[in-house]
Every structure is written in C-alpha cells, then in structure tokens.
Symmetry: C2
Subunit: 99 residues, 2 copies
C-alpha cells in the first residue's frame, strides 16, 4: 500500500473558496481503481491549512490518479486560489501496526 | 520514519467539545523527542471526523508517546466526548517520493 500524506498551506480565505472544487475532486478520486482511502482535513492548529491523507493500492494507481481529468481540474483550482507551501509525500507502507 | 495515519469518527458535537483538550495534546506532543510532525484535521467530507497524521522518528518514540501524561489525558478526554469508530495505523515508511 502507498500512503500519501502531508499538508498544504493555502492563502488566507482560499480554503473556503476552494471547497467546492475540493469536494468534487475527493468524490471523483474515491471512485478511482486502487484508491483505498482519500480525504482532506482542515488542520485544527493552522488556518487555511489542509491535512492530506490517501491510501493507494500501488504506485501504478497513484500515477494514474495524477492523469485523471478531475485531478487536472483540482490542481488548476488550487493554483487559482493560491498555495503558500506544501509538504506532501508518498511512501510505501512497510511493517504496519493497527493502533 | 513511522507514519501514523487514519481517522476517527466522534459523536455528534464531540469535536467542538474536545477541541481544547485536543489542542493541548497536540501542542505537548509536538515537543516530544522523536515527533517529526503531528496534527489533526477536521475531515472536509464528514462531520465530527478527524484525520490523524503523525510522523515519528522510530517505533521507540511512538511507544514512549503513548505513555506520556498528556496522552493519557487526551485518551481520557476522547473517551468522555465519545468515539464512534476509528481506523488508525502506524506504518514504517519504505520507498518514499516527494509529491
């Protein structure tokens, strides 16, 4: 499994402006083959910051995801509202414990 | 690195009631040795659901974390407001790509 995780800080007010496009992208992504979990959270400690969490079956699923039309739209929408900084990584899950 | 991730669904209204204890726990945890990142996000697609994302240096740091007094307090606070369901895992990060 591939875990995509991280956070992105948006410009002030950008999260509210991007909400519609965000929900559309999430909904479409969840229907993709190989998508095991996909959601964003509004960071409780930082305004206009989103926590990203995604589980993918394998690298191929994730790579295909980035070429999907709804992702192209979402990246465009994000660019329009403005991303200040981002730190997002995709990591293969090794030894795993349920907490 | 260990990635702790997942989500927890709280009872209706519980997130608002738990917010103070949550922020206290996050702040204290971020000061722990071996804690590389720690935050919660309010799921944009589901009310009263938190997205959990933590990066830890190693298993030892994570195991020590659970014994910290502020964690004991936080788990108690969570129990009081009510957790409906949870799906949280800790995984060793293998091959990693920056996105």
């Amino acid at each position: 499994m591939i875990i995509v995780s991280g956070h992105a800080k948006l410009k002030p007010g950008a999260l509210a402006r991007a909400r519609g496009a965000m929900l559309t992208a999430i909904e479409a992504t969840r229907r993709e083959e190989g998508c095991l979990f996909y959601s964003y959270g509004e960071d409780v400690t930082a305004p206009d910051t989103i926590i990203i969490l995604e589980y993918w079956k394998d690298w191929a699923s994730l790579e295909r995801h980035f070429t999907e039309p709804h992702m192209v739209e979402w990246v465009k929408a994000l660019g329009e509202v403005g991303v200040v900084s981002r730190d997002i990584r995709a990591a293969e899950a090794g030894v795993t414990r349920t907490l």
